[in-house]
Each structure stands twice: as structure tokens, then as C-alpha cells.
Symmetry: D2
Subunit: 292 residues, 4 copies
């Protein structure tokens, strides 16, 4: 079976490479075509347009930056080019609303939609250690699962065409909130004369010994936000999607609102391209711990 | 060296028992004296008054319910009965303000103060598996540490007489906030058609694989709040102390305010004696997931 | 000059009637055409389609329920039917984003756009006592102002095509927030043994002697939310637009988030069609003042 | 009848002067005795100690800075010096908890307590234009009312010994919240290209035409916070009392928490002695409108 992979950014590069390295027949597409060169060298085909990439593909993976990019890349004309019965596996972080719309419009054209966003940073993508959250039609999921395993571990969230997208948003909400939570706790102990590094070492190795707590504690303590693993601008976008999903589903989420505001403020202060953990810096200013 | 242990509640019982079982000479006191019977059977002395308990004791441990109980039990007259140079090791969750006052007034009377609050539930206390957070004078800490090890693992937070108290409050803030965080995320996915148990299983075994997340996810999902490990009323008291410490140290903590309000509302609704995880129920009502 | 007025709802009815009563030549349109009957009886023309209504009109007023309704009614085909140089005066509460898009697309087609949302309830509309907030091109504003005066008082907010829309949203934010503010204050005094009616009488006739405070205090105290002047569902939509504008303009607005969540919760509890002041009821439940 | 007035600060000066000017027999006391000179010149007696001031006084007014000052000034020994049956009229902004305690301890000593905090700035005090909020025993209130009228307008809030104190706190909560509300709305319109002065002029003369809105809009727009009418530090103290009353009465107040945090942050940033409207500056920094 021929596979198509659209969107060769920091994440997509590692994911597509895993598929090629697994010996699968992959055709890749990226708006800036040069980014596909390393994959070509590994044996991938490179398409000049989305339509060319999806033609004859049994499964089409997309890993694009946002709702607008997905809409632009997988317009009706491109979807028409997919073979009848082909499955579109959408791996980007997108809104639940768009997922529902795409599923609906694909179905009308006789194509299938699966939501399959991922957790993990670029290094995990390259190592095939992502967490893939999937939801949608049971048979379609069974068909694509063998092709997902080179990219990471698959978690199944039922049959809703947007369920896995909401799982991704809920997870990103929790990650963003942990940064704010740690910032508040660190400022409290520091303002009270306790070494926040000691506090961090304590919680990170006992009650809160979780990867997310350890990673973000370190980023906050290091205080070097220039080398962004995930930018404040992208986090603002994701928290916006979280609040949109909360609005759609009538779910009050006060902590999500606080965290979205932190990311908006980060961009307003000119920190949009810094690592998302930079919001700890805004908390420190509120607490008088750094100069305004 | 003679030890005194004041406050034989759910936690104090296990802690004092560990000391007795380690072969130490312990005199215990509790307002309701009958609670001391099991310890007497193990070989502890039982005192009828705090003053009797602390007389001749080199180290006095207190594990009392709140600021008021500590003030009532360790008044000036009782402290006078402590041998000159004796060390008071305060293990309760109390305010940073009271810790500072006690340290100051002890010093004027020639007695020593160490802050040493603990993390862990009654079963951990009985098993000697608590986390003990200590702060205060270095020499005093060295003197008491051998007597702390039967109760659990010791973490040192410097020389401030209230530093460890703030660590305890910051930790309890994080625990309470995790309950709210999970509640919001669970309601979002449930309102979007995803099984919240699947979501919980996912985050608890990946990014958020921490004891606190696992414990409270389970409590929220079980939805049985009657068998309280730690009541909403006590959690409200602790979050009140957190916000007080934030006020004293000029540290804005928006998430702490949200969580304090949740616990106040729990008591106002008549849920004060239920487990603290009952605040998830208030979030579910806000989200239309249970009948008002 | 021929005028067109599209959208004959509770508000539009009164506004269009004022224009007809002023002796102006008005052609009206509404999706449910029967609603236009009273205006026809007064002397208005009635059009069967938007395109028919705007043909030959020098000024086109729209008063529609939301972004979607405006887009559906004033699509490209309808706009084409407007005479070259005609001015579209948009009086609905819509997003700043849509205002910018419409202004841009009108300009490309050689038609003009003015933002002119209004403050006031249906009775004020019928009496010509609305506040009209206008923004956009100076010359176009001068041209339409004489036709606005029968509807109320005009306030000018500069030349941005969406400025007046943001003023409307900021005003609605303040009104919604006042309801929450009063709810919190009322519950505090009531829970402390003070008659909240006395408190309301005091603030409403001294420091806070403003129409909005007086109106909403009364609605909250009466506690009869069934006869909705403005529904919780519409208020949720408006607060959503406020938060969207805050997101677009990078403006953290913590109070707006709290108030949006209150309205979402109101709908989730089944109170969507009640008066927006019903959110005071959610505050009272949080405070233990009514049965859950 | 002899009157005593304790606490000759910015407010107390004007209030005591009004009593003296009304021809009443007033004995004044202030810790820094020189502050009493202008009143002496007007004909007041000056006492060297609180005990001396209250001896033989039928009514004792206190206008002190906070709970601690009231406790220090009106200790048991001073209260004993009041004639049996004398009435203490407490006009400071104090906690509801202290009011209850004082009322209780006065009663045990055969003296009476009335809560009577005031609204208004120093100029209103000097002009006899304060709003006096009174609560307590009905007969006692009747007895003191004639002596209150020179200071302003009396509003009666029932018979609770702390009811009027909560009214004062609820009022100050609303004032502080209005500053935050205006700040958010102003930043939203400014970030969207609208002149915030025009927006302020609009709301202040229409829906929100209330003295508090007009006063604080002007202070925010002027942006000169150095000439403090009421400092951020005092506002932080008051919002702390609001949240304490909310805690005592089990009343969740999310907006009060946001506003308390703003004032804490103002002090942490070194703005404690600036006018309370300075919190608008923190909002502007969050919104990227001034340099950090």
C-alpha cells in the first residue's frame, strides 16, 4: 500500500522518516519542497503538490501547523484525488470543530477520516517514541494501526471523529497549567526564603515524580527561554483551542482561562518565540522577583 | 534522651508508635487521653498535661490540628517546663506566621524551634514512610535527625524557622490544584464524548505518571467521597494558609485562589466532611454533568 | 434616498419603525416575512430577498443576530446588488474580525462599510433612545448620521472599520461583569447576616448610582429569570466575542474569563433561555445560599 | 454629654472637626499628639492617653488604621475606664471577626459596641458628607444617631455587631473591582485601535454614569499615581479583609481574589504608596501597552 505524508516540519520529518525506515512506500509533500530532501535520500518519493501526493495513496497522514494549514492543504479538490475508500489520518493539533467538519465532508465524498494527534517533542518523533491518540471508525482504525506503530505507541479513544483531538487539547491544557502551577509554587517558596531548587528537587522526586513536572521544573529553573522546544505562540494557539472546545462543550475551565491569558501576555510582551515556560517570568514579575 | 510527643490523632498515632517501636523513651500526651492507650500498651509513658509531658524531654514533637491547637498546647507555661536547651519539633501544618512567632518566643525563653511538617497519609505514618520537611538551626537539626528517621525520609530546607512550613503549604497547594486540574480536563473530555476513564488511564501512565495524579484521578472517577482520607474542611484550612502565606510574602497566586474558593463552596454545600476530591463534583455541576 | 433595513427582530422592529415614522423611504427585509407586516402598515416597502431590499438603496442597515446571520444575509451576491458607492451600516453585535473582513471585501467591490452597533433594549429601540456607536470612514459617517438620529444618540469612535464593534463588546463585558460583581457582594453580605436589599439600596443610590447597577440589582433581587430581557445564551455569545477580541488583540482579561464561564455554566445547567442575570443563581449555589 | 474621638488621621481630623464645629463637647486623642493641635484651637479637649480620653465619655468614636491599632488603643484597661453603659462607635475599616470579638468583650464589661464604618475620602469627611453605615443594638443606635449627623448621612444595616463592617468591605470590594474592570476594558479598546478616553467618556456618561466609575476612570487615564488619595497598600489590606470575610462566611468570590492579587503585586513591584488605581498599570503591562 502506498502512503502519503503531508507536512514535513520538525515533527513530520521524524515521523515520516520512521515510516520510510520501516520499509514502507511513502510519498511526502511539503510547501517548501527542499525540506523533503533528507527523506528523498532515504528512499521516499517527493510530490510537488498535495494532489499529486495523495493520488493512489491508501492512507494519507497530515502533520500541519494549524486549522488553516489543514484546510488549505486538504481542500475538496485534493480530497477528490484520494482513491475512493482511502483514509485520511490527521495528526496535527486542530480544533474539535474542524475535525467534525472534515469527517463530515470526507464521508460525503466517500473518503474516511481518523483523528490521530500525537504527544511528544521532535526527538521523540525521530525515535518513534510518540504517543498517538486515535479516534474514529473501528474498522478504519484497525486498517491503519500497523502503519502507526513505527511512530510510537497507540492509545485508542473511541469512535468520535474529534474525540482524540479533544484528548490532545486536554493534555496540552494540563501541561500548560503545570507550568503556571510550578511558577506560583516556586515564587511562593522563594519569596518566603526557601531555595526553589530544593523545593523542585523534592516534589519532582516524590509526589509529583512525573516527566512533565521534571521537564518543566528544569526549564523554569534554568530561566533560559531562548532555545524554544515549543514556543509561547504555539502554546497560546493551543490554549485558544482548549477554550474553544470548552465553549463548544459548555465546560467552564477557570484554570484554562488563567493559562491562556498568561500566553497572550507573553506574546504581548514580545516573548512569542521564546519557550512556553517563559510564562513563569510573568509570574515572577507579578511577585516582585524580577525587575519590570 | 527522653522524648515527648503531643497530639495523638490519626497521624500522630502512627508517628509516635514508630518512635516507641524503635526502642526510644517516649512520653505521649493527647487531650482525649484514651487515645493514648495503644501506645501505653507498646511501652510509652502517658502524661495527663502538656506540661507533664515536656518536663525533662530533650525533644518535644507536636502533631496538632491547627494554629489554635498548637498555641493552646504549647503556651508559655508549657514551654517554661521544657528543659533549658530542649528542642520543639513542630510537625503540624501551621501558618508561616505562627512558626516565626513561636521560634522568636522560644528563643527568648532559651528553647529551640524546628519546623518539620510532613507529607503522607495515616497509612504512611504507621509504616514510617512519611516525607519530613525540616528547616531551622543547623545544629539543632543535626541533633534531632536520628530521632526523625523512624518516621520517614528527611528533606532539609535551610535555616529559616518557617521555611519548611511554606514548603508544606506549597505542596498542599499543588495537590489541591491537581484535583481541580483533573476535574476540568475530565469534564472537557466527557462533555466531548470521550470516556474520561480512558483519558485518566492515558495521562496517569504517561506524561503525568505521578503518585498524586494517580491517587486523585482514581478518587474522582470512583465518585465516592464519603470515606474521607483528608476532608474538604481540612483542605479549605490548608488553602487558607496558602493564601495567607501568599499575602504575607506578596506572591499573587491565581490558581490558589480558585482552589480555595472550591473548598469554601464544598463546605457551604454541606460537603465539609467528605474527601477533598469532592470539589470535582462542583466542577461537574458547573459543566452540567450532574443534576443541581 | 432609499434606505434598506435587514433584520426585523425585537430590536430591528423598533429601529426600522423610527425611520419609517420619520418619513423616510424604507424597504425592509426579514427571513420570516410576516414579521414585517406592522412596518408595511406604517408605509414601509417589504422585500422578499436581501438582494431585492438593497437594490437602489443608498444606505443598507443590518440588525442581525450574529456573525453567521450577517454572512448569510450580506453575501457577495447581495453586496453586488447594492448601488456602487452605497453604504452598509452594520448595527449588530458581531466580531471585530468579521467587521474587518466585511470592510475589506466591500471596499474591493466599491461599496462602503460602517460599524454602528447599538446599546439599549427593545423599548429603547422603539422610543428612539438607543446609543449608537459608530466608526469608519469620516465622509461616510457624515453621510449617514442624519439617518441615524431618529434611532438615538450617536457616539463617534474614530475611523477603524471595527472600532465601534470593540466598544460594543467592551460595554457588554462591563455589563456582564457587573452582574457577577453584584452577585458576589450580595452573597457576602447575606452570608454575613445583612439584608442584601438594604445593601443594594445603599450602593445603587450612592457610589454606584448608575443605570446598569440599578437595573441588574433589581433583576437579581427579584430572582425571576423567566421573563428574559436578554438571554444567558446571547450573553454567552457576546462574552465569547469579547474573549475572541481579547485574544486577537493580545489583551489578558481575567474577569471576562470568569464571566464567560458563568454564562457557559448557565447554558450547561439548562438556563440558556433565562435572563442573563440568572448567573447570580450559580453564585448563590457556590455560596450555599440555595439548594443544589 | 461628653464625646471622645480616638484617631486623628486624615479622616479622623475632618470627622472630629465636624463634631467640634457642631458645638459638641469633644475630647480627642491621637498617638502623635501634635496632630490634635488644630482641633484644640477649635475648642476640643486633648487627652494624653486613650484611657484619659474615654473617661466620663458617653460615646467613644474610634477611627484607627486597622485591627491591630484598634486592639492596641481599645484594650481591656481602656474599656474599663469608659463609664458603665457608654457606647463605643467603631468607624474604622476592620475585620468582621474583630467586630464580633469586641462586641462580645464589651458586653461582658457592661459597655456597648456599634459598628459604624464610613465611605468617603478626606475632603468628604471635612465637609460632613460621609456615608456612615451603622449596625448593632437598636436602642444604642437611636442614642448615637444625633451625634453622627454632623459627619454625614446615616445608613442602617440591622442589628448584627459586624454587619456594617461587612457592608464596608463589600463596598470596597466593588470599588477595587471597578478599577480592574475599567483597566481590562480600556486595554481591550486601546489594543484594538480605539481611543480609550472616548470609550471612558461614553460609558461614564451613559450606562455607567456613577461617581465611582467617573472618579477611577479619570485616575486611570491621568496615569499619575504618585498623589495617592488611597494607597495600594491600604487597598491590599482591605481586599485581604474582604477575602477573610468571604472565608469566614463561606462565600466564593473569584473577582475579589483577582483584585487582591493585583494589589499584592502592586506592593511587590514597589508601588505600595501609590494610588490604588496603579493596578491599571499592571494590567497594561500584561497587555503589552507599557514597557516591562
Amino acid at each position: 500500500m502506498k502512503l502519503a505524508f503531508l507536512g514535513i516540519g520538525q515533527m513530520g520529518m521524524g515521523m515520516a522518516a520512521r515510516l520510510v525506515q520501516a520499509g514502507l512506500d511513502v510519498c511526502v509533500y511539503n510547501r517548501t519542497i527542499e525540506k523533503c530532501d533528507p527523506l528523498k535520500a532515504m528512499g521516499a518519493h517527493v510530490a510537488a503538490t498535495p494532489a499529486e501526493a495523495v493520488a493512489d495513496a491508501g492512507i494519507v497522514f497530515t502533520m500541519l501547523s494549524d486549522d488553516a494549514a489543514l484546510l488549505a492543504t486538504m481542500g475538496r479538490d485534493t480530497v477528490k484525488k484520494m482513491p475512493s475508500g482511502a483514509i485520511h489520518v490527521s495528526m496535527s493539533t486542530i480544533s474539535a470543530t474542524l475535525a467534525e467538519q472534515m469527517a463530515h465532508s470526507h464521508a460525503k465524498q466517500g473518503r474516511a477520516w481518523l483523528a490521530c494527534p500525537v504527544f511528544g517533542r521532535p526527538d521523540a518523533a525521530a525515535a518513534g517514541l510518540l504517543r498517538l491518540c486515535i479516534s474514529g471508525n473501528r474498522e478504519h482504525k484497525e486498517k491503519v494501526k500497523p502503519y502507526l506503530s513505527p511512530m510510537g505507541e497507540v492509545w485508542d479513544f473511541g469512535e468520535s471523529p474529534s474525540g482524540a483531538n479533544v484528548v490532545k487539547l486536554a493534555g496540552n491544557f494540563m501541561i500548560g497549567s503545570i507550568v503556571e502551577l510550578l511558577s506560583e509554587a516556586f515564587s511562593l517558596v522563594e519569596n518566603s526564603g526557601v531555595d526553589r531548587r530544593e523545593f523542585s528537587r523534592f516534589i519532582s522526586s516524590t509526589m509529583f515524580a512525573a516527566p512533565v513536572v521534571q521537564t518543566y521544573s528544569q526549564l523554569i529553573l534554568d530561566g533560559n527561554f531562548d532555545n524554544a522546544g515549543f514556543t509561547a505562540r504555539l502554546a497560546a494557539k493551543d490554549l485558544g483551542l482548549v477554550r474553544d472546545a470548552a465553549r463548544q462543550s459548555l465546560t467552564p475551565m477557570p484554570i484554562a482561562a488563567i493559562v491562556e491569558d498568561r500566553f497572550l501576555s507573553a506574546i504581548a510582551r514580545g516573548w512569542g518565540e521564546k519557550d512556553m515556560s517563559v510564562i513563569s517570568q510573568a509570574q515572577r514579575r507579578d511577585a516582585g522577583l524580577t525587575e519590570d
